[in-house]
């Protein structure tokens, strides 16, 4: 037990960047309250939720070296768990979350076991294909709105009314803190270092008498559940869910967020989500200022920015920050 607590303490110290970000998100509503910018609370919620999903994906991508190109599917399943529950008049948020974790866990086991038979390019493509399969499955389910999706009410969490200002914000924040702590444990635990060892050299880990698949599938399922949780909260926030939520481009977005922030780091995905969504908010405005006719076409700039990030952005934003501050172990 003492070892357990020493791990929390040391973990938090080791991950100052993560701690600052979490505290920052807790204090952010103070700023938006004073400055009267409630819109930015919504941006912050989106950042936290996409960041959470990216953190989940990062467990397999950054720590486990499995390039999954289909994690939007789990985000979408999580979101549809709210929609489907609401359709059957179940509005309790805890039930939504439980339903989502169980469903994503099961789907994670099935998709993971099938996909992890392959590796390399095949793995990238088969995960993409499974996500597409689910995308079309939800398009075909007319009961749940088919192509057009369905409107839903925010979930009920007992005494917490999510329609009151900031309630949803802090629910999301609390979930983010829990996920961050959980990942912090996992990454530094014996399981976590073995997972990283598998990424580094699978055959050596096998030579130690371990079965890499067992570790990979476990990480895959955990990451699917985290993405599902993020999707569940996202649906409640958006009050709407459609197949678009699991479009394959979202899987790409999650990967971009990770590489933007710093692959295989704890705080990286959250930092990447901040940068990504701010870019999405400000790039159109910037273009509006320069060439008003083309404000809608901000993607024409965003695409090349992405390419530049891949080409020159080794280590991501977190790597850059660490270099700037030269602080040891701030990841």
């Amino acid at each position: 037990m003492t070892r357990f607590f020493s791990l929390i303490g040391r973990g938090l110290l080791q991950h100052r960047a993560m701690m600052y970000l979490l505290v920052g998100f807790a204090l952010f509503p103070l700023y938006t309250g004073f400055a009267d910018l409630p819109f930015w609370n919504d941006v912050a919620i989106r950042i936290m939720l996409l960041g959470m999903a990216a953190m989940g994906l990062n467990l397999v991508l950054g720590y486990g070296g499995m390039v999954s190109f289909g994690h939007a599917a789990f985000f979408g399943i999580g979101a549809y768990c709210v929609g489907i529950s609401s359709y059957y008049d179940i509005f309790n948020g805890w039930i939504h979350i439980g339903f989502s974790l169980v469903t994503c866990g099961l789907m994670g086991v099935i998709i993971g076991l099938l996909s992890l038979r392959t590796s390399g390019i095949y793995f990238i493509m088969i995960t993409l294909a499974f996500a597409q399969m689910l995308f079309f499955a939800f398009v075909s389910l007319e009961t749940f709105g088919g192509d057009d999706g369905m409107s839903i009410d925010r979930a009920e969490f007992g005494l917490i009314d999510l329609y009151e200002p900031l309630r949803l914000y802090f629910l999301v924040w609390a979930a983010l803190v829990i996920v961050s702590l959980l990942l912090m444990f996992i990454v530094h635990s014996r399981f976590g270092v073995t997972l990283r060892a598998i990424k580094s050299n699978e055959s050596r880990v096998e030579a130690m008498g371990l079965t890499p698949l067992k570790f990979k599938i476990t990480a895959y399922v955990i990451s699917a559940m985290i993405c599902g949780l993020a999707g569940t909260l996202f649906a409640s926030w958006q009050e709407y869910v459609s197949p678009d939520i699991m479009h394959w481009t979202r899987s790409g977005e999650l990967m971009i967020i990770i590489i933007l922030g710093g692959l295989g780091t704890l705080a990286g995905p959250l930092l990447g989500a901040i940068a990504f969504l701010l870019l999405e908010e400000f790039l159109p405005e910037l273009i509006q200022a320069i060439a008003p006719d083309y404000a809608e076409n901000w993607m024409i700039v965003f695409g090349p920015i992405l390419i530049a990030i891949v080409m020159f952005g080794r280590g991501g934003l977190l790597g850059l920050l660490i270099k700037l501050f030269q602080r040891k172990g701030a990841s």
Binding site: R117, I121, F136, E142, I300, V310
Partner: protein
């Protein structure tokens, strides 16, 4: 369901498959032999389709449009390789995924800026919009038949290119040991650029032929890209023969499924829900097929010998 409809759909499925093969062929060389994850291959299809449609409108002649669009596709691939792709060969798969994803965003938006968000319509010349009788009493659109023939011609061309010339073997050697192959006097840089340009050219031709059949619009390439990725996976990455067989299978399953599934579903479901679920289930069929293939053969039906 009548026999006529069945036969017509079978032809349509074959035509869809052969078009998919044109896209998948270039992709399998890039993906399988050069080991480069290239997601922007769908954009090459779009570029070909736009080039053909706008040049047809400009010259008022369908054939002239196609004639000029082919070199444009070729040079689009050539230039893309020169400007961006060649800097990415040494990067890992994930970085290639992201960079080429960025290319997709760029191309779709560039087309939207240049041609507007609405779909372009390219009309067929009178000489191609008639019907031929493939069997007595069964008419089939002339243009679709032409697509099948052109597709076949291209497929044979690709096959000859890979098996009869040294291109296939050299690219393969270049991928497994670039330094050694270069030392043997092969210009790897030029070879890769050529493969990209040829791949882009075939993808462009596919786009040109799809133009009059579907709508030419921004983002048209991505569904095709994903389908051709499925084709390559089923066929075995790097195998042109596998890509051909898988393309026909996928084209057939996708097309026939769209028509047959609602009919089958109607036999035990209400018509409304059967008509709703049918097409999407058909879209799923292709991915289910892929999953089944990978469960039994994790490297596809025809994995190339390494």
């Amino acid at each position: 369901m009548t026999f006529t409809l069945f036969l017509e759909q079978a032809f349509n499925g074959f035509q869809a498959g052969i078009t998919l093969f044109l896209i998948a062929a270039g992709l399998t060389l890039i993906l399988g032999i050069m080991d480069f994850v290239f997601l922007a291959h769908g954009s090459q299809v779009m570029i070909g389709a736009y080039a053909a449609a706008s040049l047809t409108a400009l010259t008022q002649n369908f054939y002239l449009g196609i004639l000029f669009a082919i070199p444009i596709s070729f040079f689009a691939g050539y230039a893309l390789e020169y400007l961006v792709i060649r800097h990415l060969y040494k990067r890992d798969h994930m970085e290639q995924v992201l960079a080429t994803f960025g290319l997709i965003l760029f191309f779709n938006e560039a087309i939207r800026v240049g041609f507007g968000p609405a779909a372009l319509h390219s009309n067929l010349p009178a000489s191609l919009s008639g019907f031929v009788y493939i069997l007595p009493e069964i008419p089939y659109p002339e243009f679709r038949l032409l697509v099948i023939l052109v597709g076949f011609a291209c497929a044979i061309g690709i096959h000859l290119l890979v098996s009869r010339t040294r291109l296939g073997a050299t690219v393969r050697a270049g991928a497994s040991n670039a330094a050694m192959t270069a030392a043997l006097g092969v210009n790897i840089t030029r070879l890769r650029r050529l493969v990209f340009a040829i791949g882009a050219c075939f993808a462009g031709v596919a786009g040109m032929m799809l133009g009059p059949l579907t709508s030419v619009e921004p983002g048209m390439g991505e569904p095709l890209l994903i389908l051709s990725l499925v084709v390559i996976i089923i066929g075995g990455i790097g195998s042109v023969r596998g890509a051909f067989i898988a393309a026909i299978i996928v084209g057939m399953v996708d097309t026939m499924g769209r028509v047959m599934l609602p009919v089958i579903l109607r036999s035990f479901m209400e018509q409304a829900s059967a008509d709703g679920a049918g097409p999407a289930l058909a879209s799923m069929m292709v991915y289910i097929l892929m999953a089944v293939v990978l469960v039994f053969k994790p490297t596809g039906l025809f994995p190339p010998n390494r």
